[in-house]
């Protein structure tokens, strides 16, 4: 007579009571059910899928738009510079229309024919890497970056000639998403001198990441300044010596760096940056 262990009883119970007999049957069933649910969920969100398709189209359109932009930049860079200079006004009034959920693509940024990322050209050497304690870039002339304007879809160039505060943000970055509304409110309070041009650089754009497309984000936040878009390699960000965001740089009318800062600096940080212009 053999003694059966408790484990043996458990196994016997499993064999006799379970509707499934093999773990592989269970696994196959679970995987099949999960696949069906996922397909229904992803396919069922028709509106979202349409949005995604639009986003994909936008990204796909980058290549062709990029070629055109390249041609324009190469063919008539001075025209682009003039265009930028004419766009001049420091902070334009927002023309954003936001829906009840605060998101709209009908604002002044983005649109069906405007890609969320585009090629960037840099004229001049990159600034030294950002160092918050003793910034080696202060007093150095920044390179001239030419990139696509997210409002017009036209190339624009950040040439010397105007005092500028340039802000680098990424739509998926939680720190940037926290910082942009604060910065918008601060700018609308008139804390920055009127002759300082404010430019946001939409960098590190990822179609698969949250809060895409960035144009909707800028519209929803009623961003009052200009927005230019970085390329897939974050060329503009790197040209100004940053490897992260949010990042800020203050330039004088000669293109020299007055100050740089990075991270969630908040209103105190904005004020400190603004003081560099005085």
């Amino acid at each position: 007579m053999t003694e059966q262990s408790p484990h043996g009883h458990a196994a016997q119970a499993a064999k006799t009571n379970s509707w499934f007999t093999s773990p592989f049957v269970l696994l196959a069933g679970v995987i099949l059910i999960a696949a069906i649910i996922a397909a229904v969920v992803v396919g069922g969100g028709s509106d979202e899928s349409a949005d995604d398709q639009t986003a994909t189209d936008d990204t796909a359109a980058v290549a062709s738009a990029a070629d055109e932009t390249d041609d324009e930049i190469a063919g008539d860079e001075s025209a682009a510079v003039e265009s930028s200079a004419n766009e001049g006004e420091a902070i334009d009034a927002p023309e954003t229309e936001t829906s009840s959920d605060g998101i709209s693509n009908r604002g002044r940024f983005g649109g069906p024919s405007i890609p969320e990322t585009a090629p960037v050209t840099v004229d001049g050497g990159a600034l030294p890497a950002f160092n918050p304690s003793d910034d080696p870039a202060v007093g150095v002339v920044a390179p001239v970056v030419t990139a696509m304007d997210l409002a017009s879809g036209e190339p624009t160039s950040l040439e010397p000639g105007a005092r500028r505060m340039i802000v680098f943000v990424a739509h998926w970055c939680p720190h940037c998403r926290d910082e942009l509304p604060q910065l918008t409110s601060w700018l609308e309070s008139g804390a920055l001198p009127d002759d300082v041009e404010v430019v946001a650089v939409s960098t590190s754009v990822r179609a698969e990441a949250e809060n895409y497309p960035p144009s909707d984000w800028f519209n929803a936040e009623a961003w009052p300044g200009e927005v230019i878009v970085d390329d897939d390699a974050s060329t503009a960000l790197l040209a100004y010596g940053f490897e992260g965001f949010p990042a800020f740089i203050a330039l004088d009318e000669n293109g020299e760096v007055l100050a740089r800062t990075g991270g969630n600096v908040g209103v105190d940080g904005f004020n400190e940056l603004a003081s560099a212009f005085s």
Binding site: H7, A35, I37
Partner: protein, 169 residues
């Protein structure tokens, strides 16, 4: 096959797995089944998590952040060890797998914490910060949440696995 479909599929699997394991605490049949086949189920979790992780980085071109890499360090060997153990019916690897999954789960929890409460004053890097939610399946399930679910599933399944055929050391 889109990344959204794959991540939704993974999130669905994680939800089913968590409820399945919870059921094993209360339902006799499920308890007996996990006791008998827990190692095979754990191996499936580990392998699927490993393959999903590789899909996201190698095919969907997601950049793994620093915490993602730490979780990979603990998930990949656990998945491979569990697969070999399940095939060979070698139950003596349990302490090693539990150690890997335990540390991995701790890293996942820290990652979830970072995503929920990003560091004040922080910056995001180009390669993808740990505080960014690159995926939100069903609007709320992130990659580290799925990974944490996988580690917990492995821990519970392996810890509760006690097949009748196992040999004592």
């Amino acid at each position: 096959m889109s990344a959204e479909l794959v991540t939704t599929f993974m999130a669905t699997l994680a939800i089913i797995g968590v409820f399945g394991v919870l059921a094993s605490f209360f339902v006799g049949d499920a308890r007996a089944f996990v006791r008998e086949h827990g190692m095979v189920l754990a191996a499936a979790v580990g392998v699927l998590a490993t393959l999903s992780s590789l899909y996201l980085s190698e095919i969907a071109d997601y950049d793994p952040c620093q915490y993602c890499w730490w979780q990979r360090i603990f998930m990949y060997p656990a998945g491979i060890m569990l697969l070999v153990a399940a095939v060979r019916r070698d139950w003596f690897i349990r302490p090693y797998v539990l150690m890997l999954a335990g540390i991995g789960a701790a890293v996942s929890l820290r990652h979830i914490w970072l995503q929920t409460f990003p560091d004040e004053g922080g910056m995001c890097g180009i390669s993808g910060p740990c505080s960014a939610k690159l995926v939100e399946a069903y609007g709320f399930i992130t990659i580290p949440q799925m990974t944490a679910a996988c580690f917990v599933l492995i821990i519970v399944l392996v810890a509760r696995c006690s097949p009748s055929s196992q040999e004592t050391p």
